[in-house]
Every structure is written in C-alpha cells, then in structure tokens.
C-alpha cells in the first residue's frame, strides 16, 4: 500500500481593485474588519444582517491552509444558523457524540455527550476549517453590504478621537482607509496588536504536537478517541477524530525535544501512523505539521475605536475546541451592539460591555484550556503521578471519570452579573437566568424556538397569542413578541408558567425575566440592555 501526499487545493479569490484605491481623499467607512477568518467573516455577516455595511480586509486570497479547527459546538452552530450558514456545515460535517479515553493498552472510559432531544443543532459537528470558511465566504458574498477585499494587508494604523486610519498594502500601490470602528480579527499574530504595541500575556507550553490529516476509508466509528501513554506513542498522548470527506485528524504529542522537520517526513510519519491504526489500513496524507500551544490574551478587548476579537484577542490551546468557537461568540456579542451604536440607537458605552462580557468568556476559556493542557502534558513528576492515578481509577470507579481531562468541550459563557442584565425578582425553578443563552426547543408549528427569536430584541411570552403584549418600540429599538403555549416543551425548559415573560437580546442571551408582563419593567430592561440605564 503506497501512501501518497495529497495536499488539498484551496480555492483562491480574486483581488479586485476598489474605487477607494483611486479616490482623491481617503474613503471613510463606518466599519472596517481586518481579517477574513472565521471570526471576521462571522462579524461581517452578522453586521450585514443588522443592516450595517462593512469593508473586510484580508492579506491572503484563500481560506485556511492546513490542519486547523475541526470541532464546532452547539452554541456556535446556533449562531451560524442565525447567520444563515449552519445548514451546509451540518450537512457536510460529521456529527458525533461518543468519546473514548484509553490509557496504555486499556480503554478506561467512554462518554456519550447524550445530547438532550429537541434541539435544532447537534452537540458537535466536525468539519475542516477550510470548508467552514468557504461556506462563510459564500454567505458573505451573497449578502448586501459586505465589501470583501482579498490581498489587502494592513500595515499601518493610527487613531484620533474622531476616526481610525489604516494603511493597506495591495498588489497595486498602498492606500489609506478611514473608519469609525475597526474590528481587529486578524488572528493570533495580529498585525493591529503589534502596530498598537499591545501586550499579549499568558502561558506558553513547550510540548510539541504533530498534527496530521489523513484520507482513509477505514470504518472506524465517528467517535473521538484519545490515548494517554499509548503503546505506539509511549509517555505521550494521541488523538483520532473524523472530519468530512473521509479525512481524519491525528494528533501525536511528541515532547519538547523532537525535531519538527524530521517528524513530518513521510518515512517517519507513515510507520508512526501504521503503529497507531494497524498495518492493513490504506491512507494518504493531506497535511502534517508540528505545533506548540499558547494560552494568552489581551487585557482589554477595546482600545478606543478598535475592538479585538477571536485569536487576535485571546489564544487558547486546541484541547476543548475553544478557539473558533469562542471567536464566533465574540462576534455574536458585538455585532448587535455595534449595529445599535452605528445607527445612533445606543450610546457608545454599550461597546464597553463587549469587553466586560467577552472578557469573562476569555477568562473561562483560558482557564479550561490551560487545565486540559496541564492534564494532558503533566509538567512535574507529581502532576504525572496524580494524572496517572486518575486514569487508573477511572477504569474501575465512576467517581474518577469527571477528573479525566482530555479537553473540556466548549459550552457558551453565561454573562452572569453583566451590567446589561436585569436581575431576577422572582423565583424560577429552571430556565436560562439573565446573562445565559436562550435554550432551544421545538415549537408546535414545526419550527424551532431559536429560529423564531432571530436576531432582534424579543419578548418570549408564555400564554395564548391574544393575551400576548403587542410589538413594542423602546427608545426607537423594536422589540418583537413570540408567544408560546405554557403547556409546551419550551415552557418546561423555561419554567414558563402562564404570564411569564423573558426579554431576549439580539444575541439570544437573556436580558431579564418576570412572572407577569409589565411594560414598564420591560422598557427599563431594554434600556439597561442597550446601555441607557446605569
């Protein structure tokens, strides 16, 4: 069986000269997004759906190259569904829910994410980052109001109180753009961060990982397999996970001393993979590279007119699939706020709540990914001792299984205590509290709750539609009404006794909830959620 190298041919997008490049005076745009990765593209799409135009600059002319993100969590898929792009991802991707953890020769534990029935989106979908980005580019291209400029590299920046200015290199001569707001979504090596001289602080991990995507038609199940100390990679870890088109992600920890150049050579790689998968499996290699990981963040995500998001704002290790997932949730948080501020419907201070809310999320994600990395790569004899003790015990006793940490899978952050929340004044037995994301549920008419909520302020009212409050406008911001039967599955998930009302933000997080609808209270809560109330 001959193993071949079969690198993927990415699509390329044309550089198109913009009229801005020939303008006598620098063009001025409301929003310029730097970086057309998953985060910048999601932001552009979200803004466009809110009716806000943007210019998106990317220094490259293609989608993600090589092995990067594969796992997208339910909340991210729900956001992408709101952005009109989840369906092709779910169709093309691999849905999975079972994980198996091995220690040495033994299977110590399996888990089933056992997703609750009655949600539109699955717990996880695996899909190569290049496919995901291509779908985002297609969606961005079909919407009005997104001016996507490939081969436009930002090389200079400055800002004054009334505008930001970007210098941009192109295949033609460089040009300058002015903007009210700049979104820095230019990735872990963010040029804007460097141009602004901002520190990116945290921890660097020295363990190296050999990441390899192979193409094979083996009938391994669609499960996540993780090995601690396997016979084919002694003293280290390994991972096997399925992606679309019969591509499989392999990930081998190879220690601090390994030589990356040597380890990615086919004559070394093929025997390594055979030792893992067995001699009778035929495969080709799509990509192989060696990574080290960092867990670090900007202290502040807002710097005047510049808002940082995604890897440019925070970088996590891949254990737990939090990078793209959290970046898309950044966009989800900021887009509606920026749309309101841009349309002069909310004060500029609303943008500060982005730093507050997504700062908490970054903290949570960094903590989780650092903990996973420490479990997977113990840094001292004592940490290895406890790690191995946990794995030994997990094989025999259920109590030890929650301690096994091969990556805590990404859950959405609840914005507990955010200044935009109206705290509960009533007791709820269940349901999302203020700050938490809305929970999906099937509706009687065959649609889904989250799809009904859409991307604007909504009052979710439990009661018959003739008793439901009318559509409202609070300080020029429209608030729509979704009335749901108090006997429904939705009501069970929200403790939706008759008369109960939830106020839900455009990013589908809860702003407030009450046992009875009171227009004054809802108006005050909307005001608070758009930064009008202290």
């Amino acid at each position: 069986m001959e193993t071949r190298l079969r690198p993927r041919q990415n699509p390329t997008f044309d550089y198109v000269r913009s009229p801005d490049q020939s303008a006598a005076a620098s063009a001025h745009h409301l929003v310029v997004i730097v970086g057309a990765g998953p985060v910048g593209l999601s932001m552009a799409i979200d803004l466009a759906q809110h009716g806000v135009r943007s210019v998106v600059l990317d220094d490259d002319d293609t989608v993600s190259v090589g092995s990067r993100a594969i796992c997208y969590a339910k909340r991210t898929l729900e956001i992408w569904n709101r952005l009109g792009v989840a369906a092709p991802m779910v169709d093309k991707g691999v849905t999975w829910k079972v994980g198996r953890v091995r220690f040495g020769e033994r299977l110590v534990y399996s888990f089933d994410l056992l997703p609750e029935e009655g949600h539109r989106m699955p717990a996880f979908v695996n899909l190569q980052q290049y496919h995901m980005e291509e779908m985002l580019v297609a969606r961005a291209t079909e919407l009005d109001g997104i001016d996507l400029r490939w081969k436009n590299a930002v090389t200079g920046f400055d800002q004054t109180p009334d505008r930001a200015a970007l210098t941009i290199d192109t295949p033609d001569e460089p040009y300058t753009l002015l903007a009210d707001t700049v979104i820095a979504a230019d990735g872990a090596r963010s040029s804007l961060r460097a141009l602004m001289g901002l520190d990116f602080e945290g921890r660097v991990f020295y363990d190296q990982f050999l990441i390899c995507d192979i193409i094979m038609t083996a009938d391994f199940p669609s499960e996540r397999w993780f090995w601690f100390d396997p016979p084919f990679n002694r003293g280290q870890s390994a991972l096997l996970h399925k992606q679309a088109d019969n591509v499989w992600r392999l990930d081998f920890q190879i220690g601090r001393e390994a030589d990356p150049e040597l380890e990615t050579r086919t004559d070394r790689l093929v025997p390594r993979i055979r030792a893992m998968l067995g001699d009778d499996v035929a495969f080709d290699i799509e990509w192989a590279s060696v990574y080290t990981f960092k867990c670090r963040r900007l202290d502040q995500f807002r710097h005047g007119r510049v808002l940082f998001m995604g890897d440019a704002a925070h970088q996590v290790s891949p254990f737990g699939a939090r990078g793209a997932n959290s970046g898309v949730q950044d966009a989800d948080n900021l887009a509606w706020k920026l749309a309101l501020v841009t349309k002069d419907l909310a004060p500029d201070g609303l943008l500060d709540s982005y730093d507050d809310e997504r700062g908490r999320a970054a903290h949570e994600n960094l903590m989780n990914s650092t903990r996973s990395t420490d479990f997977i790569t113990p840094k001292s004899p004592i940490s290895r001792l406890f790690r191995d003790a946990v794995l030994d015990l997990a094989e025999h006793y259920p109590f030890a299984r929650p301690l096994v940490n091969s990556g805590r899978l990404s859950l959405p952050t609840r914005y507990d205590g955010s200044p935009l929340n109206t705290p509960d004044a009533h007791v709820f037995a269940c349901g999302p509290a203020p700050g938490a994301p809305a929970i999906d549920a099937p509706l009687a008419n065959g649609t889904w709750l989250l799809e009904q909520l859409g991307g604007q302020f909504v009052v979710l009212y439990f009661g018959s539609s003739d008793q439901a409050p009318p559509v409202m406008v609070v300080s020029r911001v429209p608030v729509s009404i979704v009335a749901v039967d108090p006997e429904s599955q939705t009501a069970a998930r929200y403790d939706g006794q008759p008369g109960t009302a939830y106020l839900i933000r455009p990013d589908q997080h809860i702003a407030g909830r009450w046992r009875a609808f009171d227009i004054k209270k809802v108006e005050t809560a909307v005001g608070r959620a758009i930064g009008l109330e202290p």
């Binding site: 001792l385 406890f386 003790a389 946990v390 015990l393 109590f399 030890a400």
Partner: protein
C-alpha cells in the same frame, strides 16, 4: 453554611487504621507506594466531596512557614 474540616480526633480506632495503612503499603516499592498514596488521596477527596472542606484540608497539609517536614 460551609462545613468545617474536622481536625479533632475522629478515627474510630486510630491504631487499627494506622496499622491497616502500613499493611496496605507493605512490601511495595517506593514508586508503587507513591502511586497508591495518590489513588488514596483521590478516593478520600471524592468521599469528602465538599470543595470548602477540601481546601481547608489542602491548607492544613501545607507545612507552616519556616518549618521543614523533618526530612
């Protein structure tokens, strides 16, 4: 109300426990004993469960400043 770590005598039969502890380690290499202790700590911690009590126990086990463990 948070529970307090009990640092007063609480073992039913202290001498029996101590003997059983040593017997469990009897004949083990230093490495095997270390592994056993790690497992034992995890098993006991799970039985306690309460994070506040566990934190107090972790603190109580740290040698007071300036004091060596006698080694």
């Amino acid at each position: 109300m948070t529970e307090n770590l009990n640092l007063d005598p609480n073992l039913d039969r202290p001498d029996d426990f101590y003997e059983a502890l040593l017997n469990t380690h009897y004949g083990l290499s230093e490495d095997k004993s270390r592994d056993l202790n790690a497992r034992l700590i995890l098993i006991l911690a799970n039985h306690i469960g309460d994070m506040d009590v566990l934190k107090q126990a972790l603190n109580a086990a740290v040698p007071p400043p300036g004091e060596s463990s006698g080694a």
